[in-house]
Symmetry: C2
Subunit: 210 residues, 2 copies
């Protein structure tokens, strides 16, 4: 890894712990064993480093979103034979496992965690950052879940209901517990278990098979 990337990595670490204003250029340079002046050989300002991190995280975020949406196609189109096969194989158990895999990755992956923390701290810094936060961690996920439940209802896996409120009831507790997990890592196990319980109970409540 070259210096330019190492700077971004260290800056993200610092920003996610102490925020933008709480982090000095020396704070970034020192752990890398270089002088703060050296930072300016790679980036022209502190703001540029922050912007670069945001920009890079947006690219990685879109990649992840791309992968997700591959699994659940646009509902405006008719389901192809392949799609039906895909959904028919879906079970409540399978979905629980999917959610838990997603949660564990989000919580244990260093990069995901740092970006989330940085955005949480910075969400009121500007309108753009606030909107980015909402878009990434709320709107996109809710939209995804809405599509998913629409399909599951069509396929008769779960009961009929308002997909928007269903998505919120399903997803919001997950982010709530992830928030606790982030703030108090010692409660990780408890949160993981609560999420598992929630997902299972949710599918029990909404499942068509009783």
């Amino acid at each position: 890894m070259n210096t330019k990337e190492m700077i971004l990595e260290e800056a993200l670490k610092q920003f996610s712990e102490k925020g933008y204003n709480g982090t000095s250029m020396s704070d970034i340079a020192e752990p890398l064993g270089i002088s703060k002046a050296a930072l300016y050989k790679h980036y022209k300002s502190k703001q540029e480093i922050f912007d670069k991190i945001i920009e890079e995280s947006e690219i990685k975020y879109k990649e992840v979103l791309e992968k997700l949406s591959v699994h659940y196609p646009d509902n405006s189109k008719k389901l192809s034979k392949k799609d039906v096969d895909l959904y028919s194989g879906i079970s409540a158990e399978g979905l629980c496992e999917n959610v838990l895999t997603f949660v564990r990755f989000s919580m244990n992956d260093k990069y995901s965690r740092q970006v989330r923390r940085m955005l949480t701290i910075s969400q009121y810094q500007s309108r753009e950052l606030g909107e980015m936060y909402t878009r990434r961690y709320v709107d996109a996920m809710l939209g995804y879940d809405e599509k998913l439940f629409e399909q599951l209802i069509k396929l008769g896996v779960i009961k009929k209901g308002n997909t928007q409120t269903l998505a919120a009831m399903f997803y919001a507790p997950v982010i709530m517990y992830m928030g606790i997990w982030d703030r108090e890592p010692k409660r990780a196990k408890e949160c993981e278990k609560a999420i598992k319980n929630h997902v299972e109970e949710f599918f029990m409540m909404t499942s068509n098979m009783e």
Copy 2:
């Protein structure tokens, strides 16, 4: 209102917008029309001002909590005749209205809003602040809702179920929408409506009367 209180008020405003590190002593003094040196006649440091705000908000917070818990007594004790009367009068509609009243107050009251924003920005600043955030905005509310649902189940208003997951399913979407509302005030109406829909749908799903 005396200067000492005005300082706290202005500091809270600044901290909630720009965070602790982003706010200077002059930022606090200037809008009050006094010099920053005058601040030190009332508080010995910037940290003390921050701590005082936290301390005061904790007192006000406890007062609110006290009022809330009066309505829903400890479940370990047997319900008194008075309590039964109280609960028997509870309807899904009444609860919806209660929740919406609580939400509207939390979102429109300047003080509540500023404290919530300040704590959101500062939640990773120290272990204590992180724990305070979780305790106030998650644990306490979940605990309250758990008790409430326990009563409602006893009284046969809603179906049997795990009160912990019920509480999460009920409360988490509310804070999620409040978060959007905080970050993007222009979406206030949309969020209020979403919360209303959620609460109504929740009681429809869990209600015993079909």
